[in-house]
Symmetry: D2
């Protein structure tokens, strides 16, 4: 059993992490920090955890995270980068569920996130926690940057095509739809029920922070070749789920794209390639760590349409973080993650 | 490990039962029957089960249910009563998730359900599967009538008050609200998304089939004394969940109702009495087998208001059925049911 | 045409009022104030109003409300009471959509609203704006207290029974369900989409501010006789709508309650008594000023169940305010309010 | 006043048409037909229409549609084509809200709709009812084919770009999201609340019937030049609304696309071009006949992203049909359609 701490457990990513960790057979949950809620029982803020999590929120001082084997940061952007050095020096391994260590280029990071990076020297060491791409590096990592939700769905959808150099790398389109929990648990007008229900809209078309992360990931997958992507995120009136609809043009129209995807993901425990002709629904992965993918060539043309769905709070956040933890500590990759999706 | 069969696994109760049974450590799922879908892989109809349930729907003949230790009927009303005798004679134990064996009075059953009962001789033997009331009888039962969803929430809410003879037994009110999955997976206009979303209505005010079941249960709890209840069910635009708001008048205004509830349910693994002043939310039990209850006395008067929430598909159906199975076969009562609610 | 001003048009009540006033043939909309948004075009905050409302939010100074014939206050509680005297003295008539003038008893008001009343001398003059009860007084009023949403649905539902002295006045129950827009447009965690969707809960069971308003109204209807009411509000995952389920015990079981309701509301333009056996849906009044009511006597007993639905933003707020305006200025009562409900 | 009949008023398009026609100052609603519901008051099936529509459903024989000036067909595909000839010969003008007369090519129609066309000789005469393109022809038409919902949103979004020959005509992408009412009021499992709520999926990726209609429309707009389009429709958990996200590549990167759209739609009463940088929400057009459009060039590149929203039941069906009626009979184009969107 490893000792685990969670920094910032008051958001949706945090509560989902606690749901998963509370039943993980190799995890002893030692501390959950929250400056604002210190002293409050976690299950008072999140009644769904009554009987499953007995901890109280602690101040960072009380939490003594340095005695943990692993600390998750489920904090806003800009927090983990300030604490990482100290904890790493104490021998603690880290998984940041925010964006602090996702971009290799510090200038780009500072431009998109609008702050000075507090630990640029760690960017090179940090491993991007997408197991389907970086499994071996994650296993050895001290510091893992857990991917964003959109980037997970989009990268897994384009991956076989770009690895096989099978599509034109300019003109990629990622039209993505997210449930409202992706916007977090912060009180804001635009995510109120009466604003977001029975409504659909795009947002951030001019530029969303996940764009550079996706582009960086796709270019790595394409072995450094440039990739040109248009990424449009949308808000859809559901709680959980991301549906990425991806468009690319095949360079070799004779390619069997179904076989390409099936082979690439044959051994992956959390990527499920659906039979040809399928339309994955977000609820088919609800509350699970799965990414389900279907591939289409409408009217048999050379445009390939990939449909990729995840639960933004699980494979898009907390579940992928637990998957990374399993890899880092040599546990079976699926340990604690054998969740049957909840449907309906 | 016991051999388990499921008759009629194409509804919401069925798919939820499969979700739970597929991970139950003492269950070997042998067969799932569906006349209409025979031959189809279960996971093709319910993609959420891909990778978790490998069976195909079988015809009743193929299924050879008589070799099972236990068969669940997740069928419409009127099916189990026709098959029960044959299976019981073959030594199979049965749990019916429909209403065939819920009412002890055959005349009343036939009046409310509008058909002739095919096995009235089994009504006396059948045990009403509400573990908090009938735990010992369930353990010995060959045939368990799994309670309805509303009756579960209402009986657990009134139980401590009636057992303690603490309220006037006339004038009880149960104002209940159900998610739409409670109406089943049958194609009907009134449960279409565009009909039921962003909408709220009562239904069945003149008389709902769960009324006699609730009344029978409450009268048993009240040791046979008559109980007069007004029961109004409502449809609320959510998928899962029942919220029962119960009203009664205390006969002894000095009673500590919070203590009464806390003590009565102290040892119950699936009933959670919330601290005084709480308002349980249906999502706090989503996808779990819990019933959470709060008790209020508005303005300190002698009206007691009980708020009782369950997930209609779990504690209100499939989960309670698994709980009953655990009791019947001597497994730990919570085996396979230690589910953390999914929230948000 | 009358000159109309709106104070505080940035909430849901405000935008709904603008939707209605923008097409009212006798209204010239002169000014909308908002301290925080002064200078912003109204249609920029509410794109639904693009092309219909050309005004900008103005500061109270710029707005020069004293030149208006009528000013609506669509402000939080505690604002109108500070401005009322000055405007009344300038000859302006007022409709307050908040609670400042709803309770006749200043002590009670201060206890429930937690502030000192700034204009207690106006409480006696203020007319409670429920036209079905106070039509003549409203027509003469300078200052109208527009009723709350729950109080409107509940009073209209109990009214015929109490006027006819047909039910026991102790033991009334009002189990009410509201859409989330009833909580306003303020950024708060508990009304976020990811908190309120697919969820149902009671709130304020210990005591909701609408309770004294309802009680006062019911007692007036009962000609001053005491009324004892249990009121439990619930939050339901829809945008608009209130469904009140009301319970009372008939004193004369031979009463024809259907006829009682039909006769009482025969001439009312905005109260629609449905045929016996009906279950009104909230969507059947969506975006309209109607209250639809059905009356039941389950199993023919002496408990009467009244189902009363309104759109909380229309008959429960802005629409009723316009109805009051029509009465105050001698316009046809339905002018500008002949709205066909939007369904589905 | 003109005499108007409606064939098939039991679906969502029908009830929306009745909502609009019931208040149209130049329309006398003579008859609504439904074989299955003949004799039932319309307002019994659609309680939202109580007090607004007093007609009963009539059999086609009773309805005597030949005495009408105009008949709307709000029927499934394949009905209007059988009745059109007879009514046209009787001097009645027709608007078909289904697809019977939308495609000029009878072979293509029969392939996509899987039936033999009963009136191919009328295809040439039929005018495609998109006023922004065919206003003059509509005014003279006897037979108008009202456009589909997706085709309306997509054509209005691409129109200025294709008219101006400003984008590459191969590689267009239309990623569209529809509310569930777009699937109609037929009882089907996949549109049940418990299936469609809190869920998102694509459908018909292999080929949706609106694809040939869109392609035909875009090619006409492009003056007959070929257009290559990938069209992916999605189901989103809301009642009303379509959001089309359109992607194209500019041929002249120096083009001011905002000005192009603003100028093209300057005089259009129902197309609203939003300020640069906007993200139209579907609710901003809810229950209105508006199409709101925003144009983006992410990161200033040569990909243009158009966001186009309509209410599928209004501008995507019944409202556009009324707009066409206004044109056909010389009424002001906006008569009866000056609807303020209902938001929230």
């Amino acid at each position: 059993m490893i000792k685990v701490g969670v920094v910032g457990g008051t958001g949706y990513t945090g509560v989902e992490l606690l749901r998963l960790l509370s039943h993980h057979p190799e995890v002893s949950l030692e501390a959950i920090t929250s400056r604002t809620e210190a002293g409050m029982p976690v299950a008072e803020m999140f009644p769904s955890l009554r009987g499953h999590v007995d901890l109280r929120f602690a101040t960072p001082d009380e939490a003594r995270l340095e005695r943990c084997d692993l600390v998750f940061f489920a904090t806003p952007n800009g927090v983990a980068m300030k604490e990482a050095r100290r904890l790493l020096d104490a021998g603690v391994r880290l998984i940041d569920l925010a964006a602090d260590f996702r971009l290799a280029d510090v200038d780009q990071w500072e431009r998109w996130y609008g702050m000075t990076h507090a630990a640029p020297e760690l960017l090179e060491e940090a491993v991007y926690g997408l197991p389907e791409v970086e499994r071996e590096a994650i296993a050895r990592a001290r510091l893992v940057a857990n991917p964003g939700c959109y980037p997970t769905a989009v990268q897994l959808g384009f991956l076989p095509l770009l690895e096989a150099n099978a599509v034109a790398r300019d003109g990629l389109v990622a039209d993505c739809k997210s449930g409202v929990s992706g916007a977090g648990r912060k009180a804001e007008v635009h995510t109120l029920f009466a604003e977001a229900a029975d409504n659909f809209k795009a947002y951030g078309v001019a530029g969303h922070r996940h764009l550079p992360e996706i582009r960086q990931g796709l270019q790595r997958i394409a072995r450094g070749l440039p990739v040109e992507l248009t990424f449009v995120p949308h808000l859809t009136p559901m709680i959980r789920g991301i549906h990425a609809t991806l468009y690319a043009r095949l360079t070799d129209p004779s390619l069997d794209v179904q076989a390409l995807f099936a082979e690439r993901y044959a051994g992956e425990p959390f990527v499920d390639v659906l039979p040809a002709g399928s339309h994955p629904e977000t609820r088919s992965v609800r509350a699970s760590n799965l990414c389900r993918i279907a591939v289409h060539r409408p009217q048999g043309g050379d445009v390939v349409v990939v449909l990729s769905v995840i639960d933004n709070l699980v494979k898009g956040a907390a579940g992928q973080a637990v998957q990374n933890m399993n890899l880092m500590f040599g546990f079976p990759e699926t340990l604690g993650l054998d969740l049957v999706p909840v449907s309906p």
